[in-house]
């Protein structure tokens, strides 16, 4: 989970996606294969080569209005092609904090 904000060279080690936060409200979004964004990881476009990753990222970053902080994140492809987060950071981004939120008294 070394912060992807420190990514310098773009080289992917396995299937990857591009993720970002929606500009107006900050929610987690994933780049789709149709030049759009979705809140669902299942809709994310998967790239498998560094060139494809670079291209997908460039196209994502170009949508400066819709998204902020786009970066490449690893995923795992589970049984039946289901996309799962590839590290703890992405798990947390999808499922939320791992601790209970403080409950109103």
């Amino acid at each position: 989970m070394t912060s992807p904000l420190e990514q310098k060279k773009i080289k992917i080690a396995g299937p990857s996606i591009v993720t970002a936060n929606r500009t107006w409200d900050g929610t987690v979004i994933y780049r789709t294969a149709r030049q759009g964004w979705s809140n669902e990881l299942a809709d994310a476009a998967i790239v498998r080569t560094s060139d494809d990753a670079r291209a997908l990222l460039a196209e994502s970053v170009a949508d400066d209005l819709g998204a902020v902080g786009a970066y490449i994140a690893p995923v795992e492809i589970a049984e039946g092609g289901r996309i799962e987060p590839g590290n703890l950071r992405e798990q947390i981004r999808r499922s939320g904090v791992t601790i209970g939120l403080p409950v109103q008294a």
Binding site: T2, S3, R89, I92, R93, V103
Partner: protein
């Protein structure tokens, strides 16, 4: 506490208007993120893992009950019903929407709260001792000077685009509760032999990737010269601080690379040219600021009121009193620390309901004033001792009476990987587990004062370098590991901790801490020898042996 007047309020409102315009231009595409990012940071708006995070300023950690109520309102209306108090006396909201931020800021502006410069490469919240104005033995209230500095540094046209962030802290007590030695500029208020107020000024303290303890640049700067001297330091930094590498851009690096003597000479040369200029503070101006600080009209109260005598029979009340109640400079009053570290809870968080209830409590028992400490706890600075039993009951009802202040379960932790996009590992679950391991108050009291600080990455927002026990989250092959240091201190004897050995896995951290504590209990010279003093006396070796014997 400081009363904003029409002038202060106008500035805050002008800032809100400006930011509203900037958000509008961002959301219309007129401003790119590259142009907007620094602007939003300068209004305390970060992008985090799940959402934006909004950091609101609590200048020198002082809040009125109305302000606390308004923070509760923001938590409810714009966020998920809670806030997090930080190691710089600010409060953070984790789920804020950019589009709603101008409205949240406007709601806060109504009560004189803002988020100016709580992030960005500018001067941040000037922090101070959470017991300022009420601590016995304090030279004078450092918040007067913190407010003078706050105004001076707010929207300063020359210093709004520094090489990197810049943090001030100020103390006026022999025991430094403000951690001035780990700040970019640390100020120790004291009087010279002529009885005049001035400051020992330290520069170049800071944690993060390259931690440094601050060095004294001038042992005494007269109060009237404070701003001109600070301006000289900042001008030297603005011009010569590195801008090629963000990891080498803090003033601590400049001071380290030049050496303190050369740095001091540069500052002196600059200062001599402007010390008698417009920044010279005259007494009238200082007194005006002082006059706008509210101080309660304390009653003449007995040292041991009946209510307190009677309540001493209750062992639970006594446990809390002995732990959380501290001597006030005025007889018959007390300073009460409110632990935000409940067993199993995330350290430093408070729900909106708790904030509202606490505002009521502050109105009733503390002249409407609350303080925020860098240990991520709160304090009530003006409690009449006769009210302590009733206060305790009221706090206990809302879950704010955990008697663990300064004990091992009073943990300081950054938000970590659960929230923060810079993090390598989680910190909150570690803290939660530790509070569970050491939930027994007798055990915690047996161990005594012990500060654990946890950071989820090298940026060190949890101040792990200066923890008695410091825990730093790192990443190894996609897994969370933690480096453990011991022997750090943040006070007037500030010191960086020493690594005890190789990093350990997430699941092992609590066990390691237990081992360290066992070693301490076995090795301490007397029951009242603090953990950090045992480490000083014996070094890390005996602890290292105990921890790594079976690992």
């Amino acid at each position: 506490m400081y009363a904003y007047d029409e002038i202060d309020r106008t500035l805050v409102n002008e800032r809100v208007s400006e930011f509203r315009d900037q958000v509008k231009r961002r959301l219309s595409g007129e401003l790119t993120e590259d142009e907007f990012k620094m602007l939003r940071l300068q209004n305390g708006v970060y992008l985090q893992l799940h959402a934006y995070m909004f950091r609101v300023a609590i200048p020198y950690g002082t809040l009125s009950s109305n302000q606390l109520r308004r923070l509760a309102h923001v938590a409810r209306k714009y966020d998920r019903g809670y806030g997090h108090f930080t190691t710089r006396q600010n409060i953070q909201f984790n789920w804020i929407k950019l589009a709603e931020l101008p409205d949240a800021l406007a709601d806060l502006a109504d009560v004189g709260i803002h988020a100016m410069q709580t992030s960005g490469n500018n001067t941040r919240n000037v922090t101070s001792d959470q017991w300022a104005g009420v601590a016995p033995g304090e030279v004078e209230d450092p918040r007067i000077w913190a407010e003078i500095l706050r105004q001076y540094t707010t929207l300063h046209p020359e210093f709004s685009f520094l090489p990197r962030k810049f943090k001030f802290a100020i103390t006026a007590s022999p025991h430094d509760r403000a951690a001035i030695k780990i700040h970019d500029i640390g100020l120790r208020l004291h009087k010279n032999s002529a009885g005049e107020t001035g400051f020992e000024i330290l520069v170049g303290g800071g944690l993060g990737r390259t931690p440094f303890i601050g060095k004294t640049i001038k042992p005494f700067v007269h109060g009237r010269d404070l701003l001109s001297y600070v301006e000289a330091i900042m001008r030297v930094y603005n011009q010569y601080g590195r801008r090629d590498n963000i990891y080498k851009a803090r003033i601590k690096i400049l001071v380290h690379e030049l050496g303190i003597e050369k740095f001091a000479a540069e500052v002196e040369e600059e200062w001599q040219q402007m010390r008698d200029g417009a920044l010279k503070l005259d007494d009238e101006v200082v007194e005006d600021i002082r006059a706008r600080f509210f101080y309660p009209k304390y009653e003449k109260l007995p040292h041991m009121p009946d209510e307190l005598r009677k309540a001493a029979q209750d062992p639970q009340f006594e446990a809390w009193r002995r732990n959380s109640v501290f001597t006030h400079k005025v007889q018959g009053y007390a300073i009460v620390t409110i632990s935000l570290k409940p067993v199993g809870g995330p350290p430093g968080d408070a729900t909106a309901d708790q904030m509202d209830a606490l505002a009521e409590i502050a109105d009733k028992y503390s002249f409407g004033e609350i303080r925020v400490g860098h240990e991520q706890n709160l304090a009530l600075p003006h409690v009449a001792k006769r009210d302590l039993p009733a206060l305790w009951k009221a706090l206990d009802r809302i879950g704010l009476a955990t008697p663990n202040v300064n004990l091992i379960s009073d943990i300081i932790a950054c938000p970590g990987l659960d929230y923060c996009s810079l993090a390598n590992a989680r910190s909150i679950p570690i803290a939660q587990e530790l509070t569970r391991r050491f939930a027994n108050h007798d055990t915690a009291n047996l161990i005594g004062r012990l500060h654990i600080n946890i950071s989820g990455c090298i940026n060190a927002c949890g101040h792990h370098h200066v923890g008695h026990i410091g825990i730093l989250g790192v990443e190894k092959n996609g897994e969370e590991f933690y480096q453990i240091t011991i022997g750090g201190r943040a006070d007037e004897n500030a010191e960086l901790g020493t690594l005890i050995g190789p990093s350990v896995k997430f699941e092992e951290v609590a066990d390691v801490i237990e081992d360290i504590v066992e070693a301490y209990l076995a090795l301490r010279a007397r029951p009242d020898e603090l953990f950090v003093d045992t480490v000083k006396r014996l070094g890390v070796e005996p602890f290292r042996e105990r921890v790594y014997a079976t690992r």
